[in-house]
C-alpha cells in the first residue's frame, strides 16, 4: 500500500514551480557530511504478534521505580498525587492542553485557570500570576527577557546555584537577543549565594537566584534584595520545589519582582522528566510586560460572574513582533491537575506536607552524616534536599544502591566538577523511616 499520494509528475511539477531541480536541492543548507543518503538500517517487516512480543521483552527490561526508595530530586520531585486528581482530569471539558479563546463555551476551563493563577499568586506572595508556562526553566528564561526589556539594560546575573538545566534553557532563549547573561559562582562551601560576589553594577537589569537552590539550601532573599536595590535591579526568584512554600515565605514577601516556579510537584508525574508546568508571577506594576495568557474574572451583560482571557493585547496574535513573548498557550491540563492537587491539600495540608518533607530530609541528613567520612558540603539551612560529601565515588554508591532496588541521589560532579564525590539526596513524604534506614545501611558499607 502506498501512503504517499504524490506521483513523480506531481513532484516534478511542484519542483518546477518553485524553481528547484531536485528534492535534495531543498536540503542544500544542511551540511553534506551529516546528510543521510542510505536507507535506515532497520530489520525487515514482521507479523504484529511477533513485534508485540519483542517490544514486551524490551519493556520487561525496565526497572520500575519503587517510589518509597527513590532519593533523587534535583528539580524533579517525587510526591504522592491523590487519586482524585487523575479521576477529575478525565472529565472531557478539562481534556485539553490549550487555553480557550471562546469564553461562551469554556467557563469551566477558564475558571480552573483563574483558580490556578490565584493559587500561584498566593503561594509565591506575588500580586498577579499568569495561566502558566511550559515549565519552570522556560518561565525563568521569559522572566529574564522581560526584566531586560523593563530595565532597558543588557546584563542579567544568574547565581551558579540556580538549576543547571534552567540556566541552559535561559542561555538558549537569550543567545540571539541583546542580553548579557552572566553566571556567577560564589563558592559552594557557603551553600548559598554570596550577594557581595555577584558583581552587581548599574548595567544590571536583574539578578536571578533559586530558593531552595540547586544544593537544596534556602537563600537569603533579603540580602539579595538589598544588593539589587543598591543599583535598582530587579530580583527574579526561581523555585524548583514549590512544596517548600508550604513552610517558607513566598518570594513576594521578600520583594521579588518576578517569581517563577516548576509546578510539577503539584499533580504532575515524573514521566521521562516531563511534562513540566511553569508558574509565573509578577507584581501589578509589570502586568503589561508579563508573558503568557491571563484569565480574568468579569461580569456578563446580565451581571453574572464569568471568566475570560484578558490583557491579550500583550500577546503575539495582536502585537505581532512587539509581543511580550511568543507563548500563545499554556499548560492547561497540567495547571488543572496542579490546582486540583493544591485544593485537596489546602493551606494547612500544604504546610503539613512541607513539614513531612523537611522532617524526612532532616532525618536522612542526620543519619547519613553520622557515618564516618560522610558530611554535608555546607551548614546552610535546607528543605528536602541535602548535598553530602562521601568517601567514595557516587557512581559506585548508586550501582550498589540499585542492586537493593534503591534509586540513589544525584552525582554532583556532573554539574560542579569541583565536587568530586558529592551526592545530592532528596527525601519527601514518599520516603519512610524504614526506607531511609535501608539507604543508610547500604551507605554504611562505604564508611571510612
Amino acid at each position: 500500500m502506498r501512503f504517499i499520494p504524490l506521483t513523480d509528475s506531481d513532484r516534478s511539477e511542484m519542483l518546477e514551480k518553485i524553481g528547484v531541480s531536485s528534492v535534495s536541492e531543498l536540503f542544500a543548507d544542511i551540511p553534506e557530511q551529516i546528510r543521510l543518503y542510505d536507507p535506515l538500517n532497520l530489520p525487515g517487516p514482521e507479523p504484529e504478534l511477533d513485534l508485540m512480543e519483542r517490544f514486551e521483552e524490551l519493556a520487561g527490561e525496565n526497572q520500575a521505580l519503587n517510589p518509597r526508595k527513590s532519593f533523587l530530586g534535583a528539580g524533579a520531585y517525587l510526591h504522592h498525587v491523590p487519586v482524585a486528581v487523575d479521576q477529575l482530569l478525565l472529565r472531557s471539558e478539562f481534556f485539553t492542553c490549550y487555553t480557550p479563546y471562546q469564553p461562551e463555551v469554556s467557563q469551566g476551563t477558564l475558571a480552573a485557570i483563574y483558580e490556578f493563577q490565584t493559587y500561584t499568586a498566593a503561594l509565591t506572595g506575588m500580586e498577579i500570576a499568569n495561566a502558566s508556562m511550559y515549565d519552570g526553566a522556560s518561565a525563568l528564561a521569559e522572566a529574564v527577557i522581560m526584566s531586560a526589556r523593563i530595565k532597558k539594560k543588557p546584563k542579567v546575573i544568574v547565581s551558579g546555584l540556580v538549576h543547571p538545566h534552567w540556566r541552559e534553557v535561559t542561555a538558549a532563549y537569550t543567545r540571539t537577543l541583546d542580553i548579557d547573561l552572566v553566571t556567577v559562582d560564589t563558592g559552594l562551601e557557603r551553600g548559598v549565594t554570596d550577594s557581595a560576589q555577584l558583581a552587581i553594577d548599574d548595567t544590571t537589569a536583574a539578578v536571578v537566584v533559586q530558593s531552595p537552590n540547586f544544593l537544596g539550601n534556602i537563600e537569603d532573599l533579603r540580602e539579595i534584595r538589598s544588593a539589587c536595590d543598591s543599583v535598582g535591579a530587579l530580583m527574579i526568584v526561581a523555585v524548583a520545589e514549590p512544596v517548600s512554600l508550604g513552610l517558607l515565605k513566598g518570594p513576594g514577601h521578600f520583594g521579588a519582582d518576578v517569581a517563577v516556579a516548576e509546578g510539577r510537584s503539584f499533580g504532575g508525574s515524573l514521566s521521562f522528566g516531563g511534562p513540566g508546568l511553569g508558574m509565573f508571577a509578577v507584581n501589578k506594576e509589570y502586568v503589561r510586560q508579563m508573558p503568557g495568557r491571563l484569565a480574568g474574572k468579569t461580569k456578563d451583560t446580565q451581571g453574572r460572574e464569568g471568566y475570560t482571557l484578558t490583557l491579550s493585547t500583550r500577546e503575539q496574535h495582536i502585537r505581532r513582533e512587539k509581543a511580550t513573548s511568543n507563548i500563545c498557550s499554556n499548560q492547561a491540563l497540567c495547571a488543572t491537575a496542579a490546582v486540583i492537587h493544591m485544593s485537596l491539600l489546602g493551606k494547612d495540608g500544604l504546610r503539613k506536607l512541607a513539614i513531612q518533607n523537611l522532617s524526612a530530609a532532616a532525618y536522612l541528613s542526620r543519619r547519613v552524616t553520622s557515618l564516618n567520612g560522610f558530611e554535608r558540603i555546607s551548614g546552610a539551612h535546607f528543605f528536602n534536599e541535602v548535598a553530602i560529601n562521601m568517601p567514595v565515588d557516587p557512581q559506585v554508591v548508586n550501582s550498589r544502591l540499585a542492586k537493593e532496588g534503591i534509586q540513589g541521589g544525584l552525582d554532583l560532579s556532573e554539574y560542579y566538577p569541583e565536587l568530586k564525590s558529592s551526592m545530592l539526596f532528596c527525601a519527601t513524604e514518599m520516603n519512610t523511616k524504614k526506607s531511609i534506614d535501608q539507604l543508610v545501611s547500604v551507605l554504611a558499607e562505604f564508611e571510612k
Binding site: R288, T313, R314, I318, R319, K322
Partner: protein, 128 residues
Amino acid sequence: MKFPEDLRFSKGHEWVSVADDVATIGITDFAQDELGDIVFVEAPEIGATLTQGEAFGVAESVKTVSDVYCPVAGEVVEINSGLVDKPELVNKSPYQDGWMIKVKISDLSALDELMSAKEYENYVLKSK
C-alpha cells in the same frame, strides 16, 4: 470628527500644539475613533530624548495596541499623569484632556513637515 485649526498633524495621526519651543502631543480624533476604547497609555520617562518619528509610547485599546510616534525631536519635559487612571480621556477629549506628552523641541524646522488641519482632513478622507 474634529480637525482643530490651531494644530499641526502627522501622517501617524498624532497632533502637535506648539507654545514657544514646547510641543504638546497627542493622538487625533480620527486615531482614537479607529482604536476604540483606550484602556491603557504607556508614556516615556521624563527627560527621555526622542528623535523625530521615534515611538514614545503605546496606546492600548480593547482590541489592539498601537505605537505612538513623536512627530518632532526633543526632550520629554512632561507626561499626562491623568491618563494613568483615566486612559478614556484620550477617547473623550483627544485634543485637550487626552494629551500625552510635552516635548522641548530641539529643531523647530521639523514642524514645517507636519500637515495643517485642512491637509490632514484630506489625508484622512483619502486613507479611508
